[in-house]
Amino acid sequence: MTGTITSFTIIHIGSQGPEASPYAVVVAQADDGASRAARADGDLSWLAIGTPVDIVDDGDGAPAQCRPR
């Protein structure tokens, strides 16, 4: 699925605990108009409101992943 970032945050503490690496949660407006939430890990320097993204959901219960398009 493709979309555009509506908002994002980099979470320093949360469900993984304070020792875990920061991760980002992104909400993006998909091309079909619906909003989707996804997770981004690793290098987060590319995150910005309005950035085009791909959201990949394996459907196996794991969170969907957000990547720059």
């Binding site: 509506t6 945050t9 503490i13 949360g14």
Partner: protein, 393 residues
């Protein structure tokens, strides 16, 4: 002001425990203490109470106490009165209050004891975060992605800053203001003011929110005695406070369900309903306790309630307009959740206690001439909103 609403119920007593870390008290201890204080304040015994409604969110999960309403009835010696618990995440306390008002105005009861309580600090932070994070649709993509509540409000903050061109440093002005208000409140979790530099230098939690942008995990309870106006008059209630209106609404239960990240639609709906029922407008409100679980939540609340234009709340806060003595409507004179603390089930009841104090001229941070007060209580991602309008009788 020329209000035309017919007042049918009043608050005739209130009680509150200190908020903070209550290591030596159980959830039931806190709830019973606030209840007893409220009855004493009202000048009535437990035999006058016809029902008890309790608001709590994590009584079982964090407080290790289920069945709280019945336990409160037993602790205060209320006999066999009907009891009920209300749960709407952080709005649970006001939901209980709303049910009490509805029961009284429907003629079912004349006197109802309302209690909001939570015991949170005995659980590890990670467990508290996990329990709070479940106040959403746990099948949602945002929950599966690991979105905590600091993360949810950080999403709103990021969007608010982007949409209105506000400087992120202005978030600190909310916490500095509320901590300065809380310094006057002996019941507040934090009674020490902070500087803007301290706020801006604190560690990040969920960007752009830093430590002092986030309300604390707290223990505490608050209670109110609500009565029909006829009962209050017949029993010589001292300094009763009029209940003008309550408004409740539900809304999106996950981040991705929100159409806008700078508004919580349930608040708009509930506020519109409350103002319509009360026959007043936001311009009539002299003082408000709003649900500042995070700094950005205060800005969004002020705009959703119609107290400020869209995008104007940040500048108003930075300019001191929302401080005690700063403008026509003071925001969070108690210190708000950021300073007073946030024992979630107790929060709504404690907001109402502060507004009752303001209407009676008894607040520790009294707003001169306060005649109409508003309490704004939100649960989850705005899945529940509860607005209450009170006035000096």
């Amino acid at each position: 002001m020329g209000r035309v609403v017919v007042v049918r119920s009043q608050v005739v007593g209130y009680g509150q425990t200190p908020f903070g870390r209550a290591e030596d008290k159980t959830l039931a201890d806190l709830a019973a203490q606030a209840a007893q204080d409220a009855l004493e304040s009202a000048g009535v015994g437990a035999d006058a109470v016809e029902a008890i409604f309790v608001g709590t969110y994590a009584g079982v999960a964090l407080g290790r106490q289920g069945f709280l309403a019945a336990v409160v009835a037993s602790r205060v010696g209320a006999g066999s009165v009907p009891v009920m618990a209300a749960e709407g995440a952080c709005a649970s306390g006001t939901l209980a209050f709303h049910q009490a008002v509805a029961a009284i105005e429907a003629g079912v009861h004349d006197v109802v004891l309302v209690v909001g309580a939570e015991k949170m600090t005995s659980a590890p932070t990670a467990e508290v975060t996990s329990v709070l994070a479940s106040a959403t649709d746990t099948a949602s993509g945002s929950y599966r992605a690991g979105l905590t509540f600091p993360g949810f409000f950080a999403l709103l903050a990021r969007r608010y800053l982007h949409e209105y061109g506000v400087d992120a440093d202005q978030l600190a002005d909310v916490s500095v203001k509320n901590r300065s208000h809380g310094a006057h409140n002996p019941y507040a979790h934090f009674q020490k003011p902070i500087t803007r530099e301290e706020a801006l230098g604190a560690r990040p939690i969920a960007e752009p929110l830093r430590l002092f942008d986030c309300s604390p995990v707290s223990d505490g309870a608050a209670a109110l005695v609500v009565a029909s106006k006829e009962w209050a008059r017949a029993h010589g209630a001292v300094r009763p406070v009029d209940i003008l209106a309550t408004g409740l609404a539900s809304g999106p239960v996950s981040a991705e369900d929100l159409e806008s990240f700078v508004s919580l639609p349930a608040v708009v709906t509930a506020a519109d309903a409350a103002f319509a029922r009360a026959g007043i407008t936001p311009a009539d409100v002299d003082v408000a306790e709003v649900h500042d679980c995070f700094t950005v939540a205060e800005w969004i609340a002020l705009e959703d309630l119609g107290l400020f234009e869209r995008g104007a709340a940040a500048a108003a806060t930075s300019d001191g307009v929302t401080h005690v003595g700063g403008g026509s409507c003071t925001i969070n004179p108690s210190g708000g959740l950021l300073s007073k603390g946030h024992p979630v089930g107790a929060t709504g009841a404690a907001q109402l206690v502060e507004i009752v104090r303001q209407m009676r001229g008894e607040s520790h941070n009294q707003v001169d001439g306060a005649d109409v007060g508003l309490a704004h209580n939100v649960g989850g991602t705005g899945g529940v909103a509860a607005i209450t309008l009170l006035a000096a009788a």
